[in-house]
Amino acid sequence: MARELTIRILRYNPQDAANGNNLRPRFQEYKIEETPSMTIYLALTKIRETQDAGLAFDFVCRAGICGSCAMMINGRPKLACRCLTKDLPEEIVLLPLPAFKLIKDLSVNTGVWMDEMSKRVESWIHTSAQTDIAQIEEPIEPEVADAVFELDRCIECGICVAGCGTKLINEDFVGAVGLNRVARFECDPHDDRTADDFYELVGDDNGIFGCMTLLACEDTCPKHLPLQNKIAYMRRKLATVKGS
């Protein structure tokens, strides 16, 4: 016998008030029959097609690769596309990801935040070297390339930001995603930046010295990035920079 799932979803559109619809945030309940290997993606798509066409949520790749669909699933921030309903109780509560601007229902604006973060930590290669792209590329130690790749796997899903206690009390905290990005460029041999340069970017309480080591970022990271290790490494590195 297939289970009947009860899915309770927070409904709210912040634009409603300005458009004369005075609807407050509220829970709406949907009943849906569980099917084999059903994910939250499949369940929500079904609800939109058959029960509530206006329900807002974000999916793109639906394969755990693009990071679009992070939301609170029974109290934990997760990628909804690869969350199987069989691993959840019959009652499922879905809330939008905190810490980001709400667009509507389960849809939040991570794009603007992540672009600002990328600009803040100057998330690109800094080099004075000119590359001639017709010539053989510069050799890189295979282990070093692998180490950069390991940190480059971040998909900017926002889960570490949503789970972060520091971000809750300090709006301007750059988050594990930002600090991981700094660590990624720090170990990339193409990047000329020194510890001094990174100190200029994140050497304060909104950056590397703000982290309270509550570990939720690493606990919840869907890519299993070694966030705490890298944050600790960068903190020690930047703590030795002049003036700190």
Partner: protein, 660 residues
């Protein structure tokens, strides 16, 4: 009325769009990128296995160069491609990958010494020389003579996308996400930008620019099962079609990937088989060598997909509650290899199929079935990337029919095309924006804005009887059933007729949610009629093409017909019509560097020859022999056989380790 101005407008924020935007920004143009989603979430991120570029670094890719890559690409396309464009592409691909390395893509590198590899299910040792240590590595992929596919584990698209997006941020490209182009502004055969809907506020905005480039990817979501992301609905292609001036090329050329996970449709990369994984049937038998003794599991995608369906039809499929499937076995590669080089694949199998593919024996086999994967068709453009018929409109990447893929794309050539086209077309596009001014009346812009504003209101207020999801799902079903891997006249005819009916009915869609802002149902309501137009272009093109070529397989016309069908389908749409207009563009054998012949895989003798092919082949042979005798090198010979246009910067010789 809200009008925004920029020099260069790029619609679509995947790899092709972003790399084009970088080209424009490098030339000092004010550049805007519009994207449905945050650009780093674009479908480019899902490219797993790698990017083809003939670096020739690794042992198994020694001797590789542009000529070999070119030959593989032309054969892969089943002679449907534009060979000049394929030449432009293979010449630039090594430069693209070296540029990306400098931008920080952590390509997997070669380690000197001995390595284990599984080749033809046998453990083999490969030795890499000291001078290769640290250079970019490559893996094997389908339909290629050399190991040419460069990679970062199996997250290649992701690392490339982040590097190019970061480069665009560095250059201060104005990136605006959750913005959808829903129409093009054009007058007297010239494109002036796009009408854009803000997906959050619902506002209709005019983006006016000297040049507009569409890079919105493919149209895989026309099908019921596809590996494509949910945003790949082809709307960028559709707005070009709706101008009535721009034309679409080869829309019936749709690729089916052999190994998406069944039934979810999540892709398991070709790198699985490239690294030595194999397909098995319900008896655990490795069946591909029975059909394709030479290339085995690594024939081109169209061939492997057909063989799989053929094998299932013979009763060799595995039964499941969702229907029949086959197995993909990568367990033979060993846990260590999988956990390093096929990590996302392992994760996907764990999350979506509940198996660990590194587990030995049948326990680790993943259920797979061919599904829609790639759109070879798209906005028909010249080698510069500009529409042949609508001036100022450019297109690059999967959205375009440039046309380097013809009727079948090789694995690893698409993610490669995105950045290569971003460089070549992006620079032609940027030059166009530098050299051309625009002079357009606000009344013209206003007309387009008002048209879309009133259309949105009409959709909201309309009292109709049709449900948008019913129409959409029926379309997907028809495409799946009748316009899939195997096609025939009867089924295609049925599909075309019913799709036309659905298109007519789509004018009668009623929306339940009445808001103009942040309304997913409204989005469906204006997208679905556009998708139906594209579906009709695909189905009608397939119905009219009475031959089999590459991924287009007609069971009632099983042969490739070079005598009658060596031509590109062009579809356009006259406003008010319910069916596309179909025309053809001839391919000229007399200018081909490689005239049509046998691909080296797939069924033999399955070909109606064009007498011109042999004449041209003789001409090519005689010229080559003569030039070789004169001591000309391969570049000079190539230039004599088929000169092709390309920017000087990109035409330079690619330096390789093996150069003499």
């Amino acid at each position: 009325m809200n009008i925004k101005y920029c020099d260069a407008l790029v619609v679509g924020g995947g790899l092709a769009g972003l790399r084009s935007a970088v080209a424009a920004a490098q030339k000092g143009l004010s550049t805007t990128v519009l994207s449905l989603v945050p650009v780093k979430r674009s479908h480019s991120a899902a490219a797993q296995g790698g990017m083809q570029a003939s670096l020739g670094n690794a042992k198994m890719s020694e001797g590789d160069n542009e000529d070999v890559h070119f030959s593989d690409t032309v054969k892969g396309s089943d002679w449907g491609c534009d060979q000049e464009v394929a030449r432009m592409f293979v010449t630039t691909a090594p430069k693209a990958i070296r540029e990306l390395a400098a931008w920080g893509v952590p390509w997997t590198r070669i380690k000197k010494g001995n390595h284990d590899a599984v080749i033809n299910t046998k453990l083999t040792t490969i030795f890499e020389d000291d001078n290769k240590h640290g250079l970019i590595n490559s893996r094997d992929f389908g339909g290629t003579k050399k190991w040419r596919t460069c990679y970062t584990s199996d997250a290649t698209g992701h690392t490339m996308l982040f590097a190019v997006a970061n480069e665009a941020l560095k250059l201060n490209v104005n990136i605006e996400d959750r913005k959808e182009a829903i129409a093009l502004i054009h007058e007297e055969g010239r494109c002036y930008g796009a009408i854009v809907r803000d997906l959050i506020t619902g506002e209709i905005i005019a983006y006016v620019a000297k040049g507009t480039l569409i890079a919105t990817g493919g149209y895989g979501r026309l099908y019921e099962t596809t590996t494509n992301a949910v945003i790949c609905e082809g709307i960028g292609t559709a707005i070009a079609l709706e101008t009535g001036i721009a034309k679409l090329g080869n829309m019936e050329a749709v690729q089916f990937h052999p190994t998406p996970l069944f039934p979810s449709g999540i892709l398991l990369t070709e790198g699985c088989r490239g690294d030595g994984g194999v397909l098995r049937d319900k008896d655990g038998h490795r069946f591909m060598p029975d059909y394709e003794p030479e290339k085995k599991d690594l024939a081109s995608r169209d061939v492997v997909s057909r063989r799989m369906v053929e094998h299932i039809r013979k009763g060799k499929g595995v039964d499941s509650p969702y229907g029949k499937h086959l197995w993909l076995d990568i367990s033979i590669l060993g846990r260590e290899h999988i956990e390093k080089n096929l990590r996302d694949v392992q994760e996907i199998c764990e999350y979506f199929a509940g198996i660990d593919p590194a587990d030995e024996g049948q326990k680790g086999w993943a259920p797979v079935h061919p599904m829609q994967h790639y759109s070879m068709g798209g906005i028909r453009v010249k080698p510069t990337g500009e529409s042949q018929t609508l001036a100022g409109l450019f297109s690059a990447g999967e959205a375009a029919c440039w046309d380097m893929h013809g009727f079948n794309r090789l694995g690893g050539n698409s993610v490669s095309e995105t950045v290569v086209a971003g460089m070549i077309v992006g620079n032609f596009f940027a030059d166009y924006c530098v050299e051309n001014q625009i002079d357009i009346k606000t009344s013209v812009i206003e007309k387009f804005v008002f048209e879309q504003e009133s259309y949105m209101k009409e959709l909201i207020d309309r009292k109709g009887s049709e449900d948008v999801f019913r129409i959409k799902n029926r379309m997907k079903k028809l495409m799946q059933e009748y316009v899939g891997i195997f096609r025939d006249g009867e089924g295609l005819d049925k599909a075309v007729n019913e799709l036309e009916e659905l298109y007519i009915n789509s004018k009668n869609i009623q929306i339940r949610d009445k808001q103009l802002y942040a309304n997913p149902e409204l989005e469906e309501a204006y997208r679905v009629p556009m998708m139906l137009k594209l579906a009709l272009c695909v189905a009608k093109g397939a119905l009219d093409r009475t031959e089999s070529r590459g991924a287009h397989t007609r069971e009632d016309y099983p042969k490739r017909d070079d005598a009658n069908w060596l031509k590109r389908t062009l579809t356009s749409w006259v406003d008010g019509d319910t069916m596309p207009k179909v025309e053809y563009e001839e391919l000229n054998i007399n200018t081909m560097e490689i005239p049509p012949g046998f691909r080296g895989y797939g069924a033999k003798g399955n070909l109606i020859e064009n007498p011109q092919s042999e004449i041209r082949q003789q001409e090519v042979d005689v010229m080559t022999e003569k030039l070789e005798a004169e001591g000309k090198d391969r570049y000079e010979i190539q230039d004599a056989l088929m000169p092709f246009p390309l920017q000087d910067e990109y035409k330079r010789k690619n330096v390789r380790l093996g150069d003499k």
